[in-house]
Symmetry: C2
Subunit: 266 residues, 2 copies
């Protein structure tokens, strides 16, 4: 059988994909498909390049295919995709965006955002919970918002948040206070803090800067950086030199993939 | 890189697929994808299950995706798909159906039907041409029509065709006579014939019948059966016992896949 020659695509394959513009940079096709293979699911996850004018028609057409199992959304569609969901999970409601749609009964589609849940999952896999912890988060953009909301649902003792754009960090803080979490907005502090998270692009690629000014970090601090490339940012290198436990962007990405595949019901 | 873990799907994969209803029985996803891999093309060919009411909207949406390289159509869409093409190849015009769409310049899509061309390709790979040959074809349905038209374009000396449905075989004969081929309609004959082709379902699966009544075949006759399962039909078993050269349905399928991938420009 030719099926064995290639491994995992056939007429019986359940179809999944990521909708974005542009599309070539996405990593979910190989990562989600690998997770399907690992779980023994006969599915294939492909890139769907959809241009902004076609978003509505193209996604509705995909969702009408009986063999479509789910979709993931990336830039610039995380907000627009909300309109496709017939039910939105509480976490995504607070964020105001979704990045995945999965079947919900016969006709429905449930929407959730996993950017932040992937971060929580990465910590959980390291045996570290957020409940009762004092958390400092730098960055209140797309990734930072999703991380803040996901952590808030874990009931930390307090959250301190910083962003150069004070309006968006205040707006995010207000949404999180609705979840009855103690939230402070201001410059990041590394004392009286259990977990420090960077969700800014500072340190990405050729940028050698650290998002915090400190030259030393307390060894009890757990340090997370959402940046995937480079794997070891200047912040993480400092944390390691100071004996801190570190959690990497790639771990968040893996955690997110696992949670999305759970969400698909695989 | 996770890309290496799975082999061939990523954000840079060119997307292709087959549109049909139902879809689980199709074999092209594994066969076309394997052909892409063989040719070093970074593409993935997936099943798109599209229901009749959604055909127009879903296919138009797919064709608008910039990373879509082409589509194949199966039952029940080979006729309806013609309306999607901006240019129809002469072979498909004569058949009145297409089973593949490939990009044609910046905005266009060219349509062709490869069911019959795959048969011609299978013979070519065996070093057997149709030019100047006396051909007998049994079956004037979808597969038979496509085979008849593709062979007619090869300029055989004559074609004799038979089908239990006399109207459809007369209609097919009329279309082929337009190509200036000598065509006769009537019971199949195995004498004064160089190539005998079965394009009926007689002999498929549990059906042990032969589409011809003969107990012996001339050893000079080349015998083809479009049936894929079983690989050796009763007709082919008889032909082999009589020392005839035989060409199998699976060879036609492989020939069709190769020609479709050529058509995609891969």
């Amino acid at each position: 059988m030719e099926h064995d020659e290639v491994g995992f695509v056939s007429g019986r394959s359940r179809l999944y994909g990521i909708v974005g513009h542009p599309i070539t940079q996405v990593r979910s096709p190989e990562m989600v498909t690998a997770e399907f293979v690992k779980r023994g699911h006969h599915g294939i996850f492909v890139p769907f390049h959809v241009e902004p004018d076609d978003f509505e028609a193209s996604t509705r057409a995909l969702l009408r295919m009986p063999n479509l199992g789910g979709l993931v959304f990336t830039i610039p569609y995380k907000q627009r995709a909300m309109a496709l969901a017939t039910r939105i999970e509480p976490n995504a409601q607070t964020v105001g965006a979704i990045n995945a749609l999965a079947r919900d009964g016969n006709e429905g589609w449930k929407g959730e955002i996993f950017d932040g849940l992937g971060c929580v999952e990465a910590f959980r896999r390291r045996g570290i919970g957020f409940a009762g912890k004092r958390v400092t988060l730098i960055g209140a953009g797309g990734a930072g918002s999703a991380i803040a909301v996901a952590i808030a649902h874990e009931k930390p003792a307090s959250m301190r948040m910083f962003d150069l754009n004070s309006r968006r960090v205040e707006d995010l803080a207000a949404r999180i206070r609705h979840l009855a979490i103690e939230v402070e907005v201001g410059m990041p502090v590394i004392e009286d803090c259990d977990i420090l998270l960077n969700a800014t692009p500072t340190g990405m690629l050729e940028d050698q800067r650290s998002p915090v000014a400190a030259e030393r970090l307390p060894p009890s601090l757990v340090v997370f950086d959402a940046i995937v490339m480079p794997e070891t940012t200047t912040l993480l290198a400092l944390a390691e030199a100071c004996g801190c436990v570190t959690v990497r962007g790639r771990e968040m990405m893996r955690g997110q993939i696992a949670r999305i595949v759970d969400f698909f019901g695989v």
